[in-house]
Amino acid sequence: MLEIRNLHAKVGDKKILQGIHLSVKAGEVHAIMGPNGSGKSTLAQVLAGRETYDVTAGEVLYEGKDLLELSPEDRAREGIFMAFQYPVEIPGVGNRNFLRAAVNAIRKYRGLPDLGIKEFLAMVREKMKFLEVDEDLLKRSVNEGFSGGEKKRNEILQMAVLDPKLAILDETDSGLDIDALKIVANGVNALRTKDRAIIVVTHYQRLLDYIVPDYVHVLSNGRIVTSGDKGLALELEEKGYAWIDEQPVGSDA
């Protein structure tokens, strides 16, 4: 589903990604871990189409298409969803209307008719119930005045509503208490199907107790320095990130 080859990216003069290789197939869950500044979030943002990053080399194929050629909105319409590490507050744009505009923009791209208000609300309410999101959230402006936990749950709600093929969670666990973490994890696990792929970007192993990954990759200085199964995450937890710096670089996962 996703092939990342030798991806390099920078912000201004600062090189952040320095040769990422990663292959993700449908049905898989990949965790990307790494210390602060290793390039985890940059990778997520580059995949979502953030224009503040310059891709200087490499390529990304998504379902055989050149992903880097697509605008952010077309990536979303093609089925990519990124849950933001810091969801943006948008005063004046109602959450419900925003969600519906997004659903219908994606449907239009796929040649489907608009979802009527009734069907839309029925669909959203069902997801909200499952994710234990208060219905009040729909009436409020997008993320405005939301608590940290509400913002993250709102991201997962959007993911559930938009039903992506490839979901990228950028540190969705950070700042969540254990109850909220479980709800978020349940939401993600509910989306685990053989047709869908999930990339979980996280600093902590904790989330991976609830979303058990098929693969774990460790990022350091803009490269994947080691890859393994979920055991690698536990090892990291035990030994700390300093441990990876002692590993020989260039295993070229």
């Binding site: 979303a76 943006v88 948008i90 004046g92 744009v93 209307n97 925003f98 505009a101 923009a105 994606i106």
Partner: protein, 449 residues
């Protein structure tokens, strides 16, 4: 300078010619007021950009256009049908219609009124209601130092007279609809409204200024509002003049003890627009809220000047003005707050936020705080900016196109002011008017509704 003199001369000679025929001149007291006003205008002349209050609004294109006062013969081109788009979708309200500044009784609807309440033409009230008009008219809008108020006072033909006796809650909103059309020579009207709200009374008033077509005309309006003790007044002014029109409007509010006045000033139309809102908080415990929204594009100029005069202690004022400027348009916001030595415990808050949608749009924003008391709380803030790129990316990352994302954010920015309007049907009307001013407004509406 000589040129300016001549332009002033046009109006002075017009006055000399029309003087005897002007409304209400059978009342010697009012005739004297007119004469005083034209004398002050002769002294003041038209402001130039050297005038501090007119620094950013050059009135030369206005003074150079020979606007004619009209007799009201075009009244019959305006029909109830043609006014429908300016009304509020079946809102149950009293509606007074004025065509080129003159009361059009046959187009107006007056709901049953409380005992002692008056709603009608000011021209008629000058003759029939002297004891209710004379104590208030021309007392609060300063014709001695404001040239356009002087001009209005000298030439006033008609407008609305509203008198609410003490202790009346006026259930139906009042809509004053000023429609202008100038199919031939450019014309000028000087609408004048006098609204007196007694102690413990409550009323909601909407003033609309609209162009029937795209003709060139000049509206120079003045509204005086007198709020009695504990009176509650919600005032909304909607400016949707023609794209060629000049619109200069002054709203002067005088507030007595514990009165509560809210103004919503929504400016969407016109080529040259100047709004002055002057509120005098002249007794203790007064609440004054001024909200404003100006949306401009093309070559439009919209200048908002507000003055909140805290004259007495324990008064609160809140002011939020927002502007959306596109094309080569120019916006001005000048918010003056005076806190007099007496006005201890004043709480005044002023905010002005502007969104510039093009490189060529300009905004001049200036807070002016003059504080002469020491135990007060006054804050002000102004922002000028573009749309938030993070918010645009967030929307795009959910599949919403860049244009739609920008439009949604622009709409949300502006709609914040409209959302403060309490009457649903007026808000819905303004919402539609706002959407029609934004690119792809219809699509935003479809996406958001």
């Amino acid at each position: 300078m000589i040129e300016v003199m001549q332009e002033k001369e046009t109006y002075l000679s017009q006055f000399a010619r029309l003087e005897e025929r002007l409304t209400g001149n059978r009342q010697p007291w009012f005739h004297r007021t007119r004469k005083a006003a034209i004398a002050h205008f002769a002294e003041l002349g038209f402001p130039t950009t050297r005038h501090e209050e007119w620094k950013f609004a050059n009135v030369a294109p206005l003074t150079k256009t020979p606007f004619q006062s009209v007799a009201g013969s075009e009244l019959d081109v305006v029909t109830a049908e043609s006014l429908k788009r300016f009304t509020f979708g079946g809102l149950d309200c009293t509606q007074l219609v004025f065509v080129n500044g003159r009361f059009a009784e046959e187009l107006s609807t007056i709901r049953p009124l409380h005992n002692g309440m008056k709603v009608g033409s000011l021209a008629a009230a000058l003759d029939s209601d002297r004891e209710r008009v004379e104590p208030y008219l021309a007392l609060h809008a300063g014709y001695k130092d404001q040239a356009f108020v002087a001009l209005n006072t000298a030439f006033v033909e008609d407008g609305a007279f509203v008198f609410v006796p003490p202790g009346k809650i006026v259930e139906h909103p009042l809509h004053l609809l000023f429609v202008s059309t100038s199919p031939g020579e450019p014309t000028v009207s000087h609408p004048r409204n006098l609204i007196v709200v007694g102690d413990n009374s409550q009323i909601t008033i909407v003033e609309s200024y609209v162009g029937l077509d795209d003709s060139l005309y000049f509206t120079n309006s003045v509204t005086e509002i007198i709020a009695g003790q504990n009176a509650v007044i919600d005032h909304c002014k909607l400016q949707q003049e023609s794209e060629k029109a000049f619109h200069i409007a002054t709203l002067a509010v005088h507030q007595d003890r514990a009165s509560n006045f809210t103004s919503h000033s929504i400016s969407l139309g016109g080529a040259f627009v100047r709004n002055d809102v002057n509120a005098k908080l002249d007794a203790e415990g007064v609440e004054c809220t001024l909200n404003g929204l100006y949306v401009a594009g093309g070559d439009q100029l919209v200048d908002n000047h507000t003055l909140i005069d805290h004259a007495k202690p324990h008064c609160n004022s809140h002011e939020v003005y927002k502007g959306v400027l596109d094309g080569k348009s120019k916006g001005v916001f000048n918010g003056k707050i005076i806190v007099r030595p007496d006005a201890q415990k004043t709480d005044a808050k002023q905010t002005n936020k502007n969104l510039l949608l093009s490189d060529k749009a300009v905004i001049d924003t200036k807070p002016q705080l003059q504080i002469y008391a020491d135990d007060v709380k006054c804050t002000h803030g102004a922002t000028i900016g573009q749309l938030d790129n993070d918010a645009i990316f967030y929307l795009r990352s959910r599949g919403i196109g860049p244009e739609d994302a920008r439009n949604m954010l622009t709409y949300a920015f502006a709609n914040d002011i409209l959302s403060r309007i309490k009457i649903d049907k007026v808000r819905a009307h303004l919402d539609a008017a706002l959407l029609s001013r934004l690119p792809k407004g219809q699509e935003i509406k479809e996406a958001l509704c």
